[in-house]
């Protein structure tokens, strides 16, 4: 269906090799003309020093303002996915710990936080925001070590937005009546929050800041693989003298999260994670008066029209899928290219991915860090294999991957059809599925042909076309001539099976207020 067929040899990924060692997986020989960088792209290592920051050997639960050993007495290891080295031990919270945390949150809600004037609540949030800014580099380094994200991103994207979220919501705390004309907003009570591993601190900020600004108290659980920075954030809450019990951090596993959702004294659940888990949580609150907001998976279409600014679009495609190793629910994982420019786009894309630097996430030059965890790496391998098996052509960068750790090279698949698994399932890795379209109508239909509806991208220099396409896309966030931009003032959240509710902006406050 491509206007001009580009010759790529399909990668032959045997099932065995794909599972055993994709770092050695055969890479497409780029047999036609390509960029030759020679050794000009060999940079000297420029690692951010991690030795300045002392990491305690063990991290406990944060309940009622104090760090507390878990009821189970058990801890689990958290590792650096770039090296597979153990970083520290994290407390394994269970239902007993959750109960203590919910009780502490309830007490704090009733005795302190809901009674405090909004202005004072706001001042705590401002104070927290300032401390986060001060400790920004340390938190970025820890986030990179614990999650595998390149320091360039944690330092320049995650942490600045984390602080910005607290600043933005701090200002709302005494102005909520202006957010809801004709209504008097009141807090909901105790909020249970469960966050994923792709943006650990950022998701914590997205959840905690609006909850506190609106007068709620919080019990929050990070993902098992990325607990470290949230426990550090709890230390910041202590340092900010946030009243005890206002935020409680329960580290642990899936059952820990279930205990939060099922706890009878929790008034609201906010979850970010997979659609599969989101649906399970939605089932758990059936028949209760608990409110729930869900920010779930995505399979975003990034649509490039023939009248797009091509070089800008290529950068947007790269940012859309390879940002944070593609561990992004709103990643532009389905590239829809208008047929007339397909050969040009694929050629440029193929060249561009060769320039992405993969390796030590703490290195300031690194573009692509480590895959967050082993099961995720296996899932990515499995899905790319399925793409190859179903007839797509696999294009990967030719670069050496580190010996240890979890790595996957930037990859895209051409010749993908709408029925391929790689076109339907969320891969949550640095893997792009490339498809074509002829007319704007076809682009919209293909883009909307998914149960998800979180985000989308549109690339064209024609303004009226942007408005038309943006309007027709069934997605909560649409980036036009840009991609993967985030801001605390800008609401984020999905249509359809990407969840419900918005986070950020004036609309995001509604998730944490009672209006009747």
């Amino acid at each position: 269906m491509a206007a001009t067929k580009i010759k790529f040899k399909p990668v032959k990924l045997s099932a065995k090799r794909a599972v055993a060692a994709p770092r050695h997986a055969p890479v497409i020989p780029l047999n036609d003309r390509r960029l030759n960088f020679g050794n000009k792209w060999d940079y000297a290592p420029a690692p951010e020093d991690s030795k300045n920051y002392i990491i305690a050997p063990r991290h406990e639960l944060f309940i009622n303002g104090k760090f507390t050993a878990p009821h189970s007495g058990k801890h689990f290891d958290t590792i650096n996915p770039a090296t597979e080295d153990k970083i520290t031990e994290i407390a394994l919270g269970d239902a007993e710990d959750v109960d203590l945390a919910v009780r502490a949150a309830r007490r704090a809600y009733e005795k302190v936080w809901s009674k405090m004037p909004g202005r004072e609540r706001g001042k705590y949030l401002y104070r927290i925001a300032r401390i986060i800014q001060e400790k920004s580099r340390e938190l970025a380094v820890l986030e990179t070590m614990d999650g595998g994200k390149p320091i360039k991103e944690t330092r320049d994207v995650d942490l600045p937005i984390v602080a910005a979220h607290f600043f933005y919501h701090a200002g709302w705390a005494d102005k909520l009546q202006y957010a809801f004309p004709g209504r008097t907003p009141r807090p909901l009570g105790v909020v249970g929050q469960i966050i994923p591993w792709n943006f650990p601190l950022l998701m914590a900020a997205w959840k905690i800041a609006p909850a506190l600004a609106c007068g709620n108290t919080v019990v929050i659980k990070p993902s098992k693989t990325t607990s470290l920075t949230l426990v550090r954030l709890a230390q910041i809450f202590q340092e900010a003298e946030l009243p005890e019990g206002v935020v409680n951090v329960i580290t642990g596993v899936g059952e820990t999260g279930t205990a939060i959702v099922k706890h009878p004294d929790v008034n609201k659940i906010a979850f970010t994670g997979s659609t599969e888990i989101g649906k399970q949580l939605a089932q758990m609150v059936v028949g209760t008066d608990k409110r729930i907001t869900l920010e779930l998976g995505g399979k975003a279409a990034n649509i490039v029209f023939e009248d797009a600014p091509i070089d800008q679009a290529i950068e947007g495609i790269i940012a859309g899928i390879y940002f944070n190793m593609g561990h992004v629910c709103c990643a532009g994982s389905r590239l829809l290219v208008q047929e007339s420019i397909y050969p040009k786009v694929v050629k440029k894309l193929r060249d561009r991915i060769q320039t992405l630097r993969i390796g030590n996430p703490l290195d300031k030059n690194t573009d692509i860090g480590a895959i967050n965890n082993k099961p995720q790496l296996e899932k990515i391998r499995e899905l790319v294999q399925s793409g190859a098996d179903e007839g797509a052509e696999v294009v990967q960068t030719q670069c050496k991957l580190p010996e240890r750790g979890y790595w996957y090279p930037p990859t895209f698949l051409t010749g993908v059809t709408a029925s391929h698994r790689v076109a339907q399932e969320e891969i949550f890795g640095p893997v792009l599925s490339v498809m074509t379209f002829r007319t704007p109508e076809e682009a919209v239909e293909r883009a909307n042909n998914t149960p998800y509806g979180l985000s989308a991208g549109v690339w064209t220099d024609k303004g009226s076309k942007i408005f038309k396409i943006v309007h027709q896309l069934r997605a909560g966030v649409v980036w036009a001539n840009t991609y993967n931009k985030f801001d605390p003032t800008s609401p984020f959240g999905g249509y359809k099976e990407s969840g419900f509710g918005r986070e950020g902006g004036i609309q995001g406050l509604a998730a944490y207020c009672r209006l009747d």
Partner: protein, 290 residues
Amino acid sequence: MSTRLDVKKTYKLYLGGKFPRSESGRYLPAKSAKGEHLDNFAHASRKDFRDAVVAARSAVAGWGNASAYNRGQILYRAAEMLQNRAAELVAEIARSTNVSAAKAKREVTLAIDRLVHFAGWTDKYQQVFGSVNPVASSHFNFSTPEPTGVVVVLAPDEPSLLALVSLVAPVILSGNAAIVIASEKFPLPAATFAEILATSDLPGGVVNLLTGKRAELVPHIATHMDVNAIVDGAGDAELSAKLQAGTAINLKRYSKYSLAPADWFSAKAENPYRILDTVEFKTAWHPIGV
């Protein structure tokens, strides 16, 4: 002396602008509050519900893309039709619920005013609830509400007309298409209201009406994959839980909207925030530059 024999009618469903009987061939007797047999009405089946979803889905594109000004005029036109045929509805409510004509009239006039009220929201709710967002980067960023699509509305038994109008108006004013499950106890005012809507300018399929047994339809509503949202005004805890379970199937939006019968006559039933139960906020970004 021979008296004239009244002509009895069977009240039918309202699907896609047409009035079919139930495909199941079933009907139920409508009874007044005192238990007299009034007329028969269609007993909707699962298939009727599925047909209603198809009708609603096909109406979404046209209605959702109609201008807000146009939707407002059409809703106002519906109020005009309602006013014109108020006497018919007053009689229908009075004979169904055995209330006085004065009380029935109060319900009908309030329903008319409520429709007028919500007609005015079609081109205002976006301005009140949407936003331009001052992002820190060089981008123009704005959030606008859009209709979610196909919405099932469950009306309570009483007040059979006013509650239905108060529930449906905030759903359709934004551009959604609705499938309304009418009062089970007093379905005739709802069916008459559908006949009035059919002669307003509201495009077929924007409002579809099913009469029959709620409990029979609820499991199919919860599991249907092409329903975007449920507005539950029925006020039945057991059915609520079943409907809410639908969120776990395709994450259809579920909102409970039950008021005490008297509250449907109050300002509580004119809450514009209810419009937000069946819209999605879309946020668009664009770089600023030359």
